[in-house]
Symmetry: D2
Subunit: 92 residues, 4 copies
């Protein structure tokens, strides 16, 4: 991952961390449950954006290198990993 990409991802993760801490306070202060759930949904949305950035970088670096390289096993490996990510993240 390039420096700029890494910085952006770390910055977003720090923001997620602060958001999680904020939800802890909400729970301790007895804020209305639905508001807590909505904040958790917002955090999950932010995490999806991070996954998206990491995956995009991965496609343009490791996947591109492996796919254009001579090693058939390496190509199969990166494609298999992409399928695993799809299986783990896609809905239902």
């Amino acid at each position: 991952m390039g420096h700029q990409g890494t910085d952006d991802v770390v910055r977003r993760l720090k923001s997620v961390e602060g958001h999680v801490r904020g939800v802890q306070r909400m729970v301790e202060e007895g804020v209305y449950c639905i508001d807590v759930v909505n904040q958790i949904v917002a955090i999950q949305r932010a995490l999806k954006k991070v996954s998206s950035l990491v995956l995009d970088d991965h496609l343009h670096s490791c996947v591109t290198d492996a796919m254009r390289g001579p090693d058939a096993a390496a190509r199969e490996r990166v494609l298999g990993e992409l399928m695993d990510v799809f299986e783990a993240t896609a809905k239902v």
Copy 2:
């Protein structure tokens, strides 16, 4: 998509079609709502499996060809399409 892959996907889609028809009957017969929702979840799971098969085939054909080919724009296109699928299907 190879013949065998196509046949499997079409067979699964025919099964989904029958399942959807079954849920129509359930609704018309006034079956308990939760049972209807559970059947819809089962259909969505079957559809995810179909997407998964189609995507796996896609990675091993079009994506592999484009990534190993000389056309940088074609490579960028297939990677962009993969990101779009991730955005559209990944949770939250």
Copy 3:
């Protein structure tokens, strides 16, 4: 489920059924994989809308009756079912 609600849900499921048949044809005709995946995503979105309608009706009928009734076990049952739906459908 009231007559109007049932009719709307059945109508939507018939539309989903036709959509699934359309995707079968697309696969048989060798349409580009990504277009197939996008159609499946559209079908899943339509199915989510159906679940949503069924669930909304359920909350206003069975759940309301059970929750306002004298039977504590029945109340516990409908709440447990709602949690099961959440577990089965919520992302990740």
Copy 4:
């Protein structure tokens, strides 16, 4: 939310917070992208569990009180909120 429920939720959120910090380090140290994505998926799963606990508590407190109470508008409000949660969290 009862004391015990609150403590459990806060404890889980603290664990999520630590997990997010761990992923920041992984990104800074240049860990393989797919491993980062898998950790984010694990965090999202932990957050779903938290939502689930909060929602379960909500059903047994606010929703039960409102549904058994005399105020039709309050009943409509809690049911509407449950539908909003379903819309925001259910797949696709």
